[in-house]
């Protein structure tokens, strides 16, 4: 177990900066998820920590130790790759035990450790198989076993579930969570799947174009996004954002254009309701009148697309609200709106 610290971490390929000034403190045993759009530098950050990529600036500490120039072996980190990267010519047992072999762990001890891990991940009956004879989920578990067997200081996962189907993903998510509970090791987990991030993370780090946009618990990230990027990136469907230059919108949402001078307003589709009594936490719900354009059924919920003052707006409701047409009234709690200034940053009120 160890803490991890990035201080002004940077990476560029040639003249192109990829990761810019990352500052992040990760505690012992914390489960951190790096979340961001494709190409924002998540893998690069993780690989710099692992020692697979040189760093162009800043420092990385594991525990108290500066590891900038240490070989991956010396960092005592284990990594689960997106492609699993199992050794195709070795059996499951040899795959899991390979790091122990390299550490010159005695054979009897090695077998004991591998057996324990296999037991924990339900791989015991598969120990003699080669990776090509395993299913995707089993390969994934072998990759995790290989990482767990030598009790590393830090676990790194780079999109470990993206090659699995939706059902298996859900199951593996639970197993990873359970594994973290059991071994209590620091985990840094890269994904671009919000659901994974929300369900697994103690804290989420939102990255965009090589910079940190926000660090916070899943709840903080969802309820108090720091800027429009985070607001729009987290949550599906994305948050509705309106331009406040229209006085009618200012009036409908009760925005006073006072000292902060808000430019944009946001409200989540989940916080707009068709019935007044669904609005919680206020005496009198505010409302807007909108025109329904279309509606889309997604199993248990329904997304209704509406036109509001020449802008589109999406509402998420329960699936039985099927008959909405024409002009409807949407109710909301005025404290659940977000205001942003001209730099797209949230105005705290």
């Amino acid at each position: 177990m160890a803490s991890v610290q990035f201080s002004n971490l940077a990476k560029s390929y040639g003249d192109t900066p990829i990761v810019k000034e990352i500052n992040l403190d990760i505690d012992h045993g914390e489960f951190i998820v790096l979340l961001g759009p494709s190409g924002c530098g998540k893998s690069t950050t993780l690989r710099m920590l692992a020692g697979l990529e040189s760093i162009s600036g800043g420092d990385i500490y594991i525990g108290e130790e500066l590891v900038n120039d240490l070989h991956p072996i010396e960092r005592n980190i284990a990594m689960v790759f997106q492609s699993y990267a199992l050794y195709p010519h070795m059996t499951v047992e040899q795959n899991i035990g390979f790091s122990l072999e390299n550490l010159k762990v005695e054979k009897a001890e090695r077998i004991k450790l591998v057996t324990n891990v296999a037991e924990m991940l339900e791989l015991t009956p598969l120990l003699d198989r080669k990776p090509k004879d395993l299913s995707g989920g089993q390969r994934q578990r072998v990759a995790m076993g290989r990482a767990m067997v030598r009790s590393p200081e830090v676990f790194l996962f780079d999109e470990p579930l993206s090659n699995l189907d939706a059902k298996l993903r859900g199951q593996m998510r639970k197993e990873i969570k359970a594994m973290h509970k059991k071994v209590q090791t620091t985990v840094i987990y890269v994904t671009h799947d919000q659901v994974e991030a929300m369900t697994l993370a103690d804290r989420i780090v939102i990255l965009n174009e090589g910079k940190i946009e926000q660090i916070g618990t899943p709840k903080q990230i969802f309820d108090q996004p720091k800027n429009t990027f985070v607001a729009k990136f987290i949550g599906a469907p994305a948050m509705n954002i309106f331009n406040l230059s229209n006085p009618k919108i200012q009036h409908d949402f009760g925005v006073s254009m006072g000292e902060h001078n808000p430019v944009l307003l946001g409200i989540r589709p989940q916080y707009l309701y068709l019935n007044e009594n669904e609005v919680k936490g206020v005496e009198k719900a505010a409302f807007v009148d909108v025109e329904v354009i279309s509606s889309e059924l997604l199993g248990a919920s329904r997304h209704i697309k509406c036109k509001y003052q020449d802008q589109t707006l999406v509402v998420e409701t329960a699936s039985h609200d099927a008959t909405v047409k024409g002009i409807v009234r949407l109710y909301f709690n005025n404290t659940q709106i977000h205001l942003f200034d001209e730099n797209n940053n949230t105005i705290t009120h």
């Binding site: 692992a50 697979l52 070989h71 991956p72 072996i73 980190i77 284990a78 990594m79 790759f81 997106q82 492609s83 990267a85 199992l86 050794y87 195709p88 010519h89 390979f98 790091s99 390299n102 550490l103 080669k130 990776p131 090509k132 004879d133 290989r146 030598r150």
Partner: protein, 277 residues
């Protein structure tokens, strides 16, 4: 159960069979001639069945080439050592070019590839001069060291490693605490055996059949390789064709043996790459 062969399939079989016969004919006649006297071989039409002159032909061969068995073992020794060295050095270089980033990598690679542009004959005289300078004339080293690694082999290995081994595998091994050279022999080598088979075969045959190389550095009859020795046989006034055929027949035996050993594995290797696990 009746096996039905379609008509166009039949045509294809006939063409393949014909091609096979045409390619095998010289081998067949080589073995046949090795059992006939000179006059028998030169008669018209030539013999097509085995005769009874094999032992005499073999004795003639040994008369003309008293070191024949030494020539064979020298050839074998050189071919085996050159093959092993090529597999080692070409795979190491190919691994480095495929998996590592280092300064001047592309420049170095282009330089190595450029050596393939030079015709091998261009190097003959300089090689002979160098070898005589350092006193390696009539020494197997003169055949082994210059041939220990080649651009073609490096290229082949680089291509194979780059296509068959994902970079993440090497990185995973590195994270698993595997030292660089151990990554080579524990991860890379087991996964490139098909390429080893192909390169090994090509190198062995090329070295075994090499004529020009030994010609310029070997002038002691005892140190001749098989192609040189057989060539020496033809330099004598009346060419003993039967003896030449015996020598040639003995010379191809290792290659035939090698092919029988390797063909199965080569085919396995080629198809194993196709369905990746």
């Amino acid at each position: 159960m009746k096996i039905s062969i379609k008509k166009d399939q039949l045509v294809a079989y006939v063409i393949v069979a014909l091609g096979g016969v045409i390619m095998l004919a010289p081998f067949y006649f080589m073995f046949v001639f090795s059992s006939h006297s000179n006059s028998g071989i030169l008669s018209i039409p030539p013999p097509i069945l085995f005769g009874d002159f094999l032992v005499e032909n073999f004795n003639t061969l040994i008369d003309f080439l008293p070191y024949f068995w030494h020539n064979i073992s020298l050839s074998l020794f050189v071919a085996v050592v050159v093959t092993i060295l090529n597999l080692l050095f070409c795979s190491l270089a190919g691994y480095a070019f495929a998996m590592f980033d280092f300064k001047g990598k592309n420049f170095l690679f282009v330089g190595i590839m450029a050596t393939m542009l030079l015709p091998p004959f261009l190097g003959m005289i300089p090689t002979a001069m160098i070898m005589s300078q350092i006193g390696w004339m009539n020494d197997p080293k003169a055949l082994i060291i210059p041939a220990a690694c080649g651009a073609m082999g490096i290229f082949m290995m680089r291509q194979f490693i780059a296509s068959a081994i994902p970079k993440e595998l090497v990185e995973a091994a590195r994270m698993d605490g595997c030292k660089e050279f151990k990554i080579y022999y524990r991860i890379i080598v087991p996964l490139i055996t098909p390429a080893f088979g192909t390169l090994g075969l090509i190198t062995f045959i090329g070295t075994w059949n090499n004529f020009m190389g030994p010609l310029v550095v070997m002038n002691d009859m005892k140190m001749f390789t098989v192609p040189l020795a057989l060539r020496a046989l033809q330099g004598t006034g009346q060419v003993p064709w039967g003896a030449v055929a015996v020598g040639a027949a003995i010379a191809v035996l290792p290659l035939i043996f090698l092919f029988m050993m390797a063909s199965r594995r080569l085919i396995d290797g080629l198809t194993a790459g196709a369905v990746k696990g």
